[in-house]
Amino acid sequence: MNIICLVKFVPDVDNFVYDYDRNVLVRENVKMILNPDDAAALAFALKIKDKYPKTFIEVVSMAPKSIIGQLEDLLRRNVDKSTLISDKAFVGSDTYITSKILAKYLKAQTFDCILTGTHALDGDTSHVPAQLGELLSLAQLSNVLKIDESNFLNSIAIVDVDRERVISTYRVSLPAILSVQKESNYKLPHIKFKNLHLDVSANIHVVSNTDLSFDEKEVGIEGSLTKVSRTYPKKMEKKERIFVENDDEGIEVVYRFLKTKGYV
């Protein structure tokens, strides 16, 4: 079985430092991490490979070349191939153009299933998976919480989908695009100590516009029709801190606080 996982590396905005005095996000030293929903999708693929070792996993990411190190770390986790779609011409592409670029590459590949995350930490529009479904003429489901492993090899995916108030189960014929969310709790395995410095450079493939042959006016900023009308920084409020001693009085304060919040 061939699985393609579409992944994106994003700033680790869940663990940023906020400067309350200047009311700004401290951007220095913000790490790039694998988008948590994408990590969950890849984790499911690796789980399948662990169970069925003949499974072939390709990770595809559209990003600058600076993320090659992170793609190599995915290969060290037992991914078979990493494809980086990278070209100066693609810089600034909106979600629609990004989907077109990805679709052009994917159309030339053989696969049984495409796995993606549902949301990205940085943009959170969730456009790309659905647009890819349209461009590739494939069924696409977002907010996937669980995929039945037993039927997966039989070209059928039975998936539980979070529909906010209810969880619905769908039966989807493969190939399809399944967009997983991190609440699925599929956990990306760690790199084994013995593989930490494994040379995986041979399994990194860089795809540029030379390979995809877009007219430069079709892609990048020029080709992107999405216009951002307004942005605003999220305001963070500094929480009040109360210090108590480790004594009866302190315990009472903590108990009363938890009670007001409904925890006890």
């Binding site: 760690h190 100590f193 210090f243 108590v244 480790n246």
Partner: protein, 490 residues
Amino acid sequence: MNKNELLEGLLSILTVEQINTNEADLYDASADRYKKYAKARKVLDVPMPMAIVYPNSAEEVSKLLMFCNEHLINVIARGGKTATEGGLENWKELTIVIDAENLNKIIKIDDYNMQATAQAGVRLQELEDELRKIGYTTGHSPQSKPVAKMGGLVATRSIGQFSTLYGGIEDMVVGLECVFPNGHISRIKNVSRRAGGPDIRHIAIGNEGTLCYITEVTVKIFKYFPENHKFYGYLIKDVETGIKILREVMVNGYRPSVARTYSEEDARQHFYHFHKDKCVLIFMAEGNKETVEATCRGIEQAVENFKEGILEYVDSKHIESWFNHLNWSQKDIDDEFEGMLEKDYHAGFTTEISADWETIPKIYDSVINRVRSEFERADDLTMLGGHSSHSYINGTNMYFVYNYNINCDPEDEMRIYHHPLQRIIVEETLKFGGSMCHHHGIGKFRNEWTTEEHGSAYFMLEKLKEAFDPNGIMNFGTIYYQEEGAKYQK
């Protein structure tokens, strides 16, 4: 020798109740707190011992050691199981653990001659509680006091939180009984001082179960005056200022029971309620009224002498309250274990070193810089700092403390995180001429530097092993480097 033959041999010495082959207990005996996370996650990579035995007397220990010596069975001596450096970890298939559980009697408390005798398996807390009832103290108070046992404390050259006044365990032991691999039982008598050749107490003190098995110890006791305790706390400019004030107090002849300097990072995790992101300096004075008053004057004068480095005074009740909750009980250990089952997290690690006054700040800066620039997982560090907590007239210790997010499998944690950090600390300490272990012992994971630690004096350590344990049955891999054990380290 197979397991059945081993058990048959043990049964010729002990009763069946004194031999434990329960699988869960043997797994627990495979490693100590050094590999606590891997142990909790059931992924230990070392063999289990074949049995745990509980002798009732020094004579039974003697028979056990003779049996093991004859059949080349590795022996691990065990007390309260609070070891943190791999001293209780097993690296041999054919191994027994000799547990001091049944050597549990306080033999004598002698308040006229100011000494107390206890068997190896007596918990320090138990002895301390008995002494407190009559107004005395051992003066020994490691964080592990509620759990640690007398034999283990002596075997690892333990130190307590009040060491600056009372000294380390080596200053407290007046005599002891120990058993060697050939079965010989040695009793070192209890006297106030002696000059009968080299001080042979020190062959047993700190041997970490590699030369002999300690069965009984006699320690000094001290009058206890809790009503006189005085506490001091300060926010200070930097670690170096703190070290200078500690030195000022010590070199002027004062002996506070506690004298500590914390880096900003370490202060943050200990003193959440007052640290204000600054370094912290604390003192405690204890003893009789006159001594405490003199010590307090000494502390206040030292602080005055370096007042440009003092940022703020801390209410002494915060320091007192903190001390009252510092020790970790068996419940704390169990809670941490349970926590590690649920989360990819534990309470962190420490590496403790020592050096003279001049060198300690250099080692501290050098280690911190090297970790920040060289450690591959520096991004995962959630805390890196340290404190000086035991001072002497010629120098002090540094307790490096580090926590990190564990982004690896439990079985790889030590190799990816702790070992590289410990290596940097040890290498920098030895480079500057300090000692790589202040009070945890060498255990099994600093043994690759034992020769460098001792230099030309390693000759003496080597000869002790050859003389007392020629068959190498005592705690294989502890203190002395073993190539065969490298697979568990690297």
